[in-house]
Structure formats: C-alpha cells, structure tokens
C-alpha cells in the first residue's frame, strides 16, 4: 500500500533566521517506511529539485541513541507510546493525512536549523554531576557489591533514559525534571552513587534550573517518553534535593569546601 501525504515542515535557515512552515505534497509513501525514511524520500526529491533538504537529527535509527526527535502533529515522537521518531512507521498514517512537523521548543534547546535543536543543555546537567568520581579500574567481579534486585530495577529503569529531550518538548514549562530525575536516580539509589549523592543532586538541579522551566506535575513528560521513564524519578529527585538542603547541609558544605580547595 502506498499513500499520498501532505507534509507541513518547520523550515529555518539558521539559529537567528525567522522560520516558517513549508508545505510538501509527498506521493507514494510506503507504509513500511519509518518516519525518517519518509523524510529521506522527501529530501531526495528536494535535492533533485536543487532545493535545500530538510535538516533533522538522527543516528542509530533503532530507538536507542536518542538523537532523533521532532514534534509530530503536536506530540513529541508522534502518536505512539514508548516509540522514538525513528521507530515510528508510516503504517500509522492514512492516505490523505496532513502531518505537521516542528522542532522541540525550549529556550534551552535553540534551533540550529529546521528540525535540529542544540541539546547541549542536557550535557551541561550531566557535567554538573551525572557521574561518579571514583576511579573504577578494570571490571570487578560480579556481585562484589550486592544490590537488592528491586533497587537494581529502579536504577536500570531510570538509566533507560536516552536523553532525546521529548520530556522538555512535551512540558508546557520546558522543564527538564524527568531527564534530570532519571539521571540522578540511576546513580543515587546505587551504592556506588552514595558518596556524592547529596552534592550530585544539588549541583545537577542547580544546573537544570539555570536553563529550564520548573515542574508543575502535568506528567506530560512521562506520557511521551520513548524510554518509559516514570515521574517517580521526579519525586525521588525532589526528595533528595530537599534532603540535601536540610539534613545533610553541613556535610555538603564541608564536601564542597574540600573540593574547592583541591
């Protein structure tokens, strides 16, 4: 089966250029194509016509790298739950459909070109504390550090975040709490994450709030997350953050002083 679609795509020549939608008639779309393959076809046509192809981000095209991601008909990654744009197939559309494609919208994710946005704001959050500083050396024996299954599950579920930014795109406040909560939770529930637990949450939340909006608990992020991250990680982050401000305040300051001297 092939279908004819109308595509309205956000075109923007550069970061400071004014953008607008451009409409394309796309005939003969194969239902087995992925959304990105459909865009590839459109781009070949554009290049053949001597026009600028549509810029969009992608890498693995198998839903694991988090590079791809556009807002399709008002929803990040399109209509399906738990699916990235690269894994969305055209069989989910009908002949004659109009599809509107737009980049993530957030002050912290400036448009570079067309559908491509700069997501370094996420990297800056990770740089603030999304790691452990202990030298880990070679691979250690399995089970040297015992971790209860339930705890390992929480950490693994949080670590499933692919950093695509759909949570920010979906949030009416452009908040990054789901991303940051996932990255903090993945480390803060594990034994290896304990020494820097309170400093980590303080630093990462600080950096997050310098760039993004705040959480109003819409849970819109959870609904569109292709990795199925739960808003429970936001509650976890809030809890650790509040504790870092109260309970462990003194040791936190001491830790920071030592680090600053080093």
């Amino acid at each position: 089966m092939s279908m004819n679609l109308t595509l309205k795509v956000w075109r923007q020549a550069g970061a400071t250029a004014a953008g607008d939608f451009e409409t394309y008639q796309v005939p003969g779309v194969n239902e087995d194509m992925s959304f990105l393959e459909m865009l590839d076809v459109v781009n070949e046509q554009l290049i053949g016509d001597g026009r600028e192809p549509i810029a969009f981000d992608h890498d693995c095209r198998e839903g694991i790298c988090g590079s791809c991601g556009v807002v399709i008909n008002g929803r990040p990654h399109g209509p399906l739950q738990g699916v990235t744009t690269c894994q969305l197939h055209m069989r989910n559309y009908r002949d004659g459909d109009t599809i509107v494609v737009e980049p993530w919208r957030a002050a912290a994710f400036p448009v570079i070109r067309d559908l491509v946005v700069d997501r370094s704001a996420f990297d800056r959050i990770i740089q603030a504390g999304g790691y452990i500083t202990a030298p880990t050396g070679g691979a250690r024996d399995a089970n040297l550090t015992l971790i209860p299954k339930a705890v390992a599950d929480v950490a693994m579920d949080a670590a499933a975040c692919i950093g695509c930014g759909a949570c920010v795109a979906a949030c009416p406040n452009s908040a990054a709490n789901l991303f940051t909560g996932a990255k903090i939770t993945a480390l803060n529930v594990l034994p290896q994450g304990q020494p820097e637990r309170w400093a980590r949450v303080a630093a990462m939340v600080d950096r997050m709030e310098d760039q993004f909006g705040s959480c109003t608990n819409y849970t819109e992020c959870e609904a569109v997350c292709p990795a199925g991250i739960s808003v429970n990680v936001i509650a976890k982050m809030n809890r650790d953050y509040l504790k870092s401000r109260f309970k462990d305040r003194r040791s936190l300051i001491r830790q920071a002083d030592v680090a600053d001297e080093a």
């Binding site: 008002g74 370094s120 990297d123 406040n173 600080d206 819109e220 976890k236 080093a262």
Partner: protein
C-alpha cells in the same frame, strides 16, 4: 568535584530560564530554587487544605437549624487559649499563619510561572496536543487567581460585612442566610467553590510529587486522596448556599 558552584560553563548557546544570585543564607538559597519553591507551595497548600476542611466542617453547624449553634461556635473560636492568650488571640495566630501561607503560595506561583514563561518563549506554531495533562493541572493559575479574588469577596461579605447590607457582627448564622438569599451571591459561592475543587483536584495530588512522597505501595492512593478531598470540600461548601437558596435552612 561535585559542588553547587561549578566550574566555567563549556561553550554553546544558552538562554538561562532564570537569573539567580547566589545568596548564602540557606533559607533564601532554598527558596531561590524552583524545587524549594514548589516545596513551599506544597506545604502552604497543605496548610490551606487543612484550613478549608476545618472551615467547611465548622459551617456544617448551619444544619442544626437554630442560630445558636453556629453563633456560639463563632464565639468559642475567639475564646480558645484564654486566659493565657487575649480574646481572639488564637484566632489571630491562625489568621497570621494563613495570611503568610497565602502570601508564600501566591509568590511562589507567580515566580515559577514567570520562570516557566522564560523557558518557553516560542510555543508550538503548529499547535500542540496533551496526552496526560488534565484540565485541572493546566488551569491552576486561573483557578488560583479566581479563588483568591473570591476569598477577598468572601471576607468582605461574611467577615467584614462591607459587601453584605444586613451584616451584624457576631451573628454568622443570620449573616450567611442574608447573604445566600441573594441569588447572584449564591451563584458566586457555588462557582468559586467548584473552581476551588478543581484546584484541589490537581493540588492535593501534586503536593505529594513536590515533596517527594512517592512509593509504589501508596501511589494510587494519592489520586484517590485528591479526588476525595476535592469532593468533600465542594459538596460541603456548595451545599450551604444551595440549602439557603432552596429554603432547607432559614
């Protein structure tokens, strides 16, 4: 390595959603963070929830049908803590707490709303859909503002009496009857309390997330709690003007 004051930012374009000085008094530093503000909203919201519940329960005395019960309850509230506290002393402590809670709740709401606007200066030109955010969550600002304005009217009507021509100090029962017999006023009370219910429907769930009270064992109950709380408040508060309007009490 990991500290709040982090080394120079690596390059890349960045528009800060918030411009924030780095104060050193911990309470100010705490409140200057968005998560801290949300915690303050949640705690003040909890206080306000406690207040609206007790306030509603107290007003149920309207249904005794004789003015003395409600009026005596009103007098009693002014005598709590006597003689250690002066007359009305306890009431003023409660009022002070409530005013502070309202001021903080509203200040945090305004400040976070401005932060959120800065974080999304350009919206979705092609429109957006909602997959999870419900009506209550999306209208918190409006329901909050309207409840706040209604509160001022309510004080003018039944506390100060300036909006109630038949107002007599110390006779809340008669004042309520006189107020709710005016149809437009009764409608204001009904509509405002429905909006309060909508505000509570989201707020009484949201506060658990804001304070980090999350556990798979009780998470479904957070929603039930919010629904039940909103329903109790709305049914109770809306019943008073309706009961007067339809002559159930007079």
């Amino acid at each position: 390595m990991l500290t709040g004051s982090s080394p120079a930012r690596p390059g890349g374009p960045m528009t800060p959603a918030r411009t924030r000085p780095r104060p050193h008094t911990w309470i100010i530093e705490f409140y200057s963070s968005a998560i801290g503000k949300k915690a303050v909203m949640a705690v003040t919201g909890l206080l306000l929830l406690g207040f609206v519940l007790v306030h509603m329960l107290g007003n149920l005395k309207l249904y005794y049908g004789e003015p003395e019960h409600l009026n005596e309850y009103g007098h009693y509230l002014r005598t709590i803590g006597e003689p250690i506290l002066p007359h009305s002393g306890f009431l003023w402590i409660m009022r002070g707490g409530l005013i502070l809670a309202f001021v903080l709740h509203i200040h945090a709401a305004v400040s976070l709303t401005m932060m959120n606007r800065r974080a999304r200066p350009v919206g979705y030109k092609g429109g957006r859909t909602y997959s999870a955010a419900n009506y209550a969550a999306r209208t918190m600002r409006w329901s909050g503002i309207i409840v706040g304005l209604y509160l001022l009217f309510h004080l003018a009507d039944l506390t100060w009496g300036t909006a109630n021509p038949d107002f007599e100090h110390g006779e809340p029962y008669q004042n309520m009857i006189a107020s709710f017999e005016r149809v437009p006023v009764a409608i204001v009370y009904v509509v405002a309390n429905l909006l309060l219910g909508i505000h509570i429907f989201h707020g009484a769930w949201s506060l658990f997330q804001s304070l980090g009270w999350s556990n798979p064992r009780f998470n479904v109950w957070r929603r039930y709690f919010a629904v039940a709380f909103a329903a109790v408040i709305v049914v109770g508060n809306v019943s008073f003007p309706l009961a007067v309007l339809f002559g159930v009490v007079d």
